[in-house]
């Protein structure tokens, strides 16, 4: 009898615990998304690991095992021990690591210095520079690589037609400058510099200047203040930049592809036909780097106290005086620099759409404007050859506009879904900070971002190409991959902003019995509107021009980035340049609309 009562009691307690657990929305969110994200992150990894053991007909594993089906470890032994190991694995791995490190370095130095000048000095033209500085991030990364080629190629060095610099000034840049590691790192570094500008700028902007002022009063040399006080304070932001940029650079396929650098990504593509299983091992190696970076991220989270310290506002803004001339000179230098990284590519894109042949700048050499044409825009048939490779003009080209609609749909869906899920996860994690499960959900949501895009794309391709489900070339697959990959944008933004919110605000509403939905929509979201909106706009913008992630998941006319890449590879630069312009305009229009409606923008709160 007593036993029964005890059992009933235990049962009631358990039921109560369960009821209490589910009464908290954050617990439901964490449980639900913990399960979903575990599947969406782990399942592709499992699929690609399995692929490394599978025997693929017509590839090296069939040749070495003599079997057409089944499983074997031969892909591992061949990749790591054959005489091709240096070519297929070690050299690309070294190049990949060098590229990632250099990219981090360039983006941090260039973006960080700019952030410092914008936030902590009296440099001129801040508002303009702040807006223009993020342009390279808006543009698809390889388009800068194409611009680089157009500028610096030369018959004497690269064995091609002369680029602009050679044609106009007879300057021949050395090979290391035009091909390989250096230009790849430069292009990626410039592309990701806005990342470090936004992250480091955010810290600089909110940094307590008391420590620096104290040091100044104590007559500490300026270099010492910089290295002993300022830089240590922005260390977390630098680390964050490294975390985000390293994985992205590692997974970049198009930039090294165009600039002739063999990395794990380019090797994955080139090996995929004959060494399919071994290529999957390369994807796993890239993923391992993602996991390692997650470990680093853990350390940065441990140091979160640093963030709290530096985000406390002192109410004083100490700005370095660059001098009467200095503030203008440095401003002008940055105007020139950003002209070449942000404006010049756009001008070249626009110009390219009026050249008679791709890269044919005859009008510059001859000073004859009749060497320009509008055919790339207004040709409305594809019967007359007209030098257009059977394509209709940009305004009438069904492939481009179909891809544009598809891209908009994809980007909006990814932004809405990833933004919503990420925001909820950020909220829930902030509420259960000390829970291990919350930390697990937080990490598992962040992991895909740290995995190279190409590897994630490859994993999703393998996962969803089977007997039961074949989602290749469907928006469903692209949305799934995009959402999983971009949730971290929103979850990190949301988490960081929610951590700044005192629990008392929501607790006051709870006491008044206000439902959770109302608390979210009327209190929490409005307070942290700016950060949350960034969690939606970043996935939208990134999705619009993402290639590496979607490269393996759809055909070329399906979305704009794959169409752009197709035209670039084909050498039809007028079309690819026009698509670039369309993308840039789209992003700017959306950014402006969001700015007008909500007051938030990508560089908001830093510049000007």
């Amino acid at each position: 009898m007593e036993m029964t009562v005890q059992k009933n009691k235990k049962g009631a307690i358990l039921r109560n615990q369960i009821r209490t657990f589910f009464a908290k929305p954050q617990n439901v969110i964490l449980l639900l998304f913990g399960i979903v994200l575990t599947f969406s992150t782990i399942a592709p990894i499992v699929a690609i690991v399995r692929d490394t053991f599978s025997i693929h007909p017509g590839t090296i594993d069939q040749h070495l095992t003599g079997q057409t089906t089944g499983y074997s470890v031969v892909n591992y032994t061949d990749l790591f021990t054959s005489r091709m190991a240096a070519t297929n694995l070690w050299k690309p791995l070294l190049n990949t690591v060098l590229l990632s490190v250099l990219t981090c370095l360039i983006s941090i130095v260039y973006g960080g210095l700019f952030a410092f000048l914008v936030t902590r000095s009296n440099m001129r033209f801040k508002r303009y520079l702040s807006a223009i500085f993020i342009f390279p991030y808006i543009m698809p990364q390889w388009t800068l690589a194409v611009v680089w080629q157009h500028m610096f190629n030369s018959n004497a060095v690269t064995g091609t037609a002369d680029g602009l610099l050679t044609a106009l000034f007879a300057v021949h840049m050395p090979k290391w400058f035009v091909l390989g590691l250096f230009p790849s790192a430069m292009v990626l570094g410039l592309h990701y510099a806005p990342f470090s500008y936004i992250l480091i700028g955010g810290i600089f902007k909110n940094m307590d200047a008391n420590l620096e002022e104290a040091a100044t009063i104590l007559d500490t040399p300026k270099w010492k203040i910089m290295f002993r006080i300022t830089l240590p304070m922005v260390k977390p932001a630098i680390l964050s930049t490294i975390l985000l940029v390293f994985g992205s650079a590692m997974g970049s396929y198009p930039v090294p592809h165009y600039l002739n650098l063999t990395t794990l990504s380019t090797k994955y593509i080139s090996m995929n036909s004959k060494y399919t299983g071994e290529a999957s091992i390369l994807a796993i190696i890239m993923m391992v780097f993602g996991v390692l970076i997650l470990g680093l991220n853990q350390s940065s989270l441990m140091g979160r106290a640093n963030y709290t310290t530096v985000t406390g506002k002192s109410g004083q803004l100490s700005k370095i005086n660059l001098g009467r001339a200095g503030k203008w000179v440095i401003g002008v230098i940055y105007i020139i620099l950003t002209f070449f990284t942000s404006i010049w590519p756009i001008l070249l894109f626009a110009l390219e759409t009026f050249l008679p042949n791709p890269g044919d700048y005859s009008f510059l050499y001859t000073h004859d404007l009749s060497n320009l044409t509008t055919k790339w825009w207004i040709t409305n048939e594809n019967i007359t050859e007209n030098g257009m490779y059977g394509q209709q003009g940009i305004l009438y080209n069904p492939t481009i506009w179909h891809a544009f609609r598809g891209t908009l749909f994809l980007a909006i869906m990814c932004a809405l879904i990833a933004g919503t899920i990420g925001t909820l996860i950020g909220y829930a994690v902030s509420k259960n900070r000390r829970s291990r499960w919350a930390n697990y959900v937080n990490n598992i949501a962040f992991l895909p971002y740290l995995m190279p895009s190409l590897a994630v794309g490859a994993a999703f391709f393998i996962l969803f190409s089977n007997r039961y489900v074949n989602l290749f070339n469907t928006y469903t697959l692209l949305i799934i991959a995009g959402v999983v990959k971009y949730i971290p944008f929103a979850s990190r933004n949301s988490l960081n902003s929610m951590l700044q919110l005192s629990n008392e605000i929501e607790e006051a509403a709870i006491i008044q019995d206000i439902p959770w939905i109302k608390r979210m929509t009327k209190i929490i979201i409005p307070i942290q509107k700016s950060s949350i909106i960034s969690g939606f706009t970043l996935p939208f913008m990134t999705c619009l021009r993402e290639l590496s992630l979607f490269l393996l998941l759809c055909t070329q006319g399906f979305i704009l980035s794959t169409t752009l890449d197709y035209f670039d590879e084909m050498g039809l630069y007028a079309f690819s340049s026009a698509i670039n312009l369309i993308l840039i305009m789209t992003i700017l229009i959306f950014n402006t609309i969001v700015n007008i409606l909500t007051g938030a923008s990508l560089d908001s709160g830093i510049g000007g």
Binding site: P57, M84, V291, P358, T555
Partner: protein, 482 residues
């Protein structure tokens, strides 16, 4: 702790996959078809179009066949009009999915629908044509083959080597030989062995002629200091097939003949390389001139300047500033050059068109047509394939351009009559303004032009012999980046 959880999850994932490895079979793992035999050699045209033999040595009895095989067997006895009637019955108001390496399939499908509408004005069909990149066509077809009823009804596909090993040996694709096509080629569907080619495309040697460089021998392209522009062989695999084919006796002999025509200075440059590769040639079981083929391949791989596509190469080569550069690219790219102050087709010379040129003039590869083994609209696919290969209209999506030759001699003749590619460089006044665009045609290229032709089976056999050896060579692009 979090790291530990992740580690456990990853280990579990690895374990699951390892346990899955204990299984013995997968869905696509049926036994390969019967052993392939060699292609036919009756005529120059047929030789080029034969491809690898893929069907059983003894033709299967039609009554024992099921599904798509049975439909193909029946369809091979029907004319285009009869197939069209079947297609109308099968696919009216349906959606037809095709997949191919050429985007022109999308242009050809509306013409096919118009043709069917001449028979039944009420007929209509939606269609979608996909053109995957980066070799994904093989993975996509493989994935689609796992379903009971596939998405794709047919494919237009290149790279005989991969088709043989990944698509035919695994029975993912099925060959259908239209009766009308066989008639035009003087054979029958039963007697014909090999893949069905839609067309042969040629990549030809060209050079920028604004300087003094001379390319009068195919060895000139691999001589000291030359870096011809070429699509990377890991990016476009038919480029690798070209290299494999050079080791076949016929083409190795051509290379030796060209070598014999060189002057002593150039011979002295090549001799040590040929001598060094004699052992490798013998190890690979190549013929007596195999070492010459290997020497040419080695020099080519170690010196070609890799580019992303033939389009950019063409754009480069026709520019006046690309003095003395050379290339091996798809001939038809010349059609899209717009004349300007610095760009002109006349800035390039097609090497083989020079009177004193000796040696191979380029490489010919095929676009092949197949049904998928689980084709959802097999009759329509058969009719479409017959339409493409047996009518001028069907081939017009490709035929309007130079450098692509229909495998059907009747269609090829009609196409030439309509489009006059042999006078492609003539202006309205009847003057030969752009001689490089005067396409001399399939027969010329495969005889005097010494075009190297793809043989899928030979390529498949060479892929892990000569092919693996090629991969050990250091490409110019890799050496340059170091």
């Amino acid at each position: 702790m979090k790291k530990r959880i992740l580690s456990v999850l990853l280990t579990a994932a690895m374990s699951v996959s390892l346990m899955a490895g204990c299984g013995s079979n997968n869905a696509g793992g049926e036994a390969p078809a019967s052993a392939p035999t060699s292609g036919g050699t009756e005529s120059a045209q047929e030789e080029s179009t034969s491809g690898a033999a893929t069907e059983s040595a003894a033709p299967a009895q039609a009554e024992n066949l099921t599904g798509v095989d049975a439909i193909i067997a029946e369809a091979e006895g029907m004319t285009l009009d009869e197939l069209a009637a079947k297609a109308i019955e099968e696919s009216n108001s349906q959606t037809f999915y095709g997949i191919g390496n050429s985007s022109r399939g999308k242009t050809a499908l509306p013409l096919f629908i118009s043709y069917l509408q001449t028979i039944d004005p009420n007929y209509n069909m939606e269609f979608e044509w996909q053109q995957p990149k980066n070799n994904k066509i093989f993975e996509q077809l493989t994935a689609d083959s796992l379903k009971d009823s596939g998405t794709f009804s047919m494919t237009l596909i290149q790279d005989g080597n991969q088709i043989q090993t990944k698509m035919i040996d695994t029975e993912i694709l099925k060959t259908f030989i239209p009766k009308d096509w066989a008639d035009a080629n003087g054979t029958t569907p039963d007697a014909y062995e090999g893949f069905l080619p839609l067309q042969t495309l040629n990549k030809v040697f060209m050079f920028n002629n604004t300087g003094d460089a001379k390319f009068t021998n195919c060895w000139d392209f691999v001589y000291d200091g030359q870096h011809p522009l070429y699509m990377d062989i890991d990016s476009e695999l038919v480029g690798k097939n070209f290299l494999y084919m050079l080791t076949e006796d016929k083409y190795a002999d051509m290379l030796k003949e060209a070598y014999d025509a060189l002057d002593d200075e150039k011979k002295a440059y090549f001799d040590p390389i040929v001598a060094e590769l004699q052992t490798d040639a013998s190890d690979f079981g190549l013929g007596e001139n195999g070492a010459y083929a290997l020497a040419w391949i080695k020099l080519w791989v170690e010196n070609y300047n890799a580019q992303t596509d033939d389009g950019p190469i063409c754009n480069t080569l026709v520019d006046a500033s690309a003095t003395d550069q050379s290339a091996l690219i798809v001939y038809s790219k010349l059609r899209s050059v717009e004349e300007s102050a610095t760009v002109s087709v006349n800035n390039v010379t097609v090497a083989a068109y020079q009177d004193d040129y000796v040696g191979i003039g380029g490489y010919g590869y095929n676009h092949y047509l197949f049904l998928t083994k689980n084709s959802p609209l097999p009759w329509t696919a058969c009719a479409f394939i017959a339409y493409l290969t047996c009518t001028e209209d069907g081939f017009s999506a490709w035929g309007k351009d130079m450098g692509g030759y229909s495998s059907n001699p009747e269609v090829a003749t009609a196409t030439e009559t309509t489009y006059q590619h042999q006078k492609g460089g003539y202006n309205d006044a009847g003057e030969d303004e752009f001689p490089a665009k005067d396409d001399r045609g399939y027969d010329w290229w495969t005889t005097e032009g010494e075009l190297v032709l793809e043989d899928p089976q030979y390529c498949a056999d060479a892929a892990f012999g000569v092919g693996s050896w090629i991969e050990t060579l250091t490409k110019y692009a890799d050496a340059a980046a170091e």
